[in-house]
């Protein structure tokens, strides 16, 4: 094939101009999505024995009923023994102090949420900012999501929760008998630029919340400087709640 100098330069110029397409596209497209995540610093968390500040704040705000019978229990955020949270992940030789700690757990707002895949009515879905949301209007109470969640983060309302709520918070709906519920990362507070209630309630600053996509966010800073672990990472759900031991 023969090509004169002029034609060669034209094609080269055009090809180079093509390289500007992607940056220009990015410049005019909407800003990068947020990706909410939480870091739980167990060293700060276990400073005070039996502290329930975050749990109480969350449950009061979201009208989570206080049911005595563990079979009926509804919970959004709670404490569980280390063995139950990180059991089977090869931490058997971990030191005794760590092993005897209770660990704060909540919905992990997974990147690949198994609960979302199984929901037949799309009552639970992943929002663009990564929050695994529930639409209680759509929940039919089939509890597939509870079976699918590897973290036991979901609770079922076996009875009308209203009589078991000490003081109903008027600003947040209660649930009804027959629906599943779970932590929503306080999406109603995030919409008002507030931090989740549990994060705000922790006096020890053991809970850190922020945007994983923003390099200067609190979560990114702490994840960069400290070693963190996830719950059941081998399942590929990619939790967005990180633990610092």
């Amino acid at each position: 094939m023969s090509m004169d100098r002029r034609k060669f330069l034209k094609i080269t110029g055009l090809s180079l101009a093509g390289l500007t397409i992607q940056p220009a596209f990015r410049l005019f497209s909407k800003p990068e999505q947020k990706r909410w995540a939480m870091v739980i610093n167990l060293n700060a968390c276990s400073k005070k024995d039996g502290c329930r500040d975050c749990i109480d704040a969350c449950h009061r705000l979201h009208n989570v009923p206080d049911l005595a019978n563990p079979k009926d229990e509804v919970k959004w955020i709670w404490n569980a023994p280390f063995e139950r949270v990180f059991g089977g992940q090869g931490y058997t030789t971990l030191n005794e102090v760590l092993k005897n700690r209770s660990v704060l757990v909540l919905c992990n707002h997974c990147e690949n949420p198994p609960c979302v895949k199984v929901c037949p009515t799309k009552a639970t879905w992943k929002r663009e900012d990564g929050i695994v949301m529930m639409d209680y209007h759509r929940c039919i109470g089939c509890r597939y999501c509870m079976a699918a969640c590897p973290y036991g983060a979901r609770s079922f309302n076996w009875k009308d929760p209203r009589p078991s709520i000490n003081e109903i918070n008027m600003d947040f709906p209660t649930r009804m008998k027959g629906v599943v519920e779970k932590c929503n990362f306080c999406e109603e507070r995030l919409a008002k630029n507030l931090l989740p209630a549990c994060v705000e309630a922790c006096k020890e600053k053991g809970l850190i919340f922020g945007d994983l996509n923003a390099t200067d966010s609190d979560v990114r800073k702490i994840l960069k400087s400290k070693f963190s672990i996830l719950r059941k990472p081998h399942l590929g759900t990619e939790p967005k709640v990180y633990y610092i031991l």
């Binding site: 949301m133 709906p173 009804m176």
Partner: protein
């Protein structure tokens, strides 16, 4: 065929009986009954015009629940340009605080049983 009178009497009695609800309500004036609603005094205008709210509030609320929960849209721009916060308890019940005298009265009359209040709060729930 000598039973014409008997047959016609029978049909008449049958019609009188089967149409009982119609003529009874018509004669006693019960058919003209319209529930009297306790309209809020704090505001003159609802989110949209009264005729619109009367006939289509359910459609509006259905849309609200969809956009607020699923799309994260928390404000509604009314036809008159006013911006309202989407919320059953926060917006509707703020004015219509007498749920029993407003919502229930009409819903009971129309035989409609919405599930809204199983979860959404209204003053009596919190005052239990």
């Amino acid at each position: 065929m000598h039973d014409t009178v008997k047959v016609i009497t029978g049909i008449t009695i049958f019609l009188i009986l089967i149409l009982f609800p119609l003529w009874y309500n018509g004669l006693t004036g019960k058919a003209a009954y319209v529930p009297e609603l306790k309209v809020p005094v704090t505001e003159k205008q609802c989110v949209e015009s009264t005729p619109y709210m009367k006939t289509r509030h359910m459609e509006l609320l259905d849309k609200w629940k969809e956009v607020a929960v699923r799309q994260g849209v928390r404000t509604y721009v009314a036809k008159d340009g006013k911006i309202h916060t989407i919320g059953l308890t926060g917006t509707c019940i703020k004015c219509h605080s007498d749920k029993e005298g407003f919502c229930d009265k009409c819903h009971n009359y129309a035989g409609v049983k919405p599930h809204c209040w199983d979860c959404h709060n209204y003053p009596r729930v919190t005052a239990k």
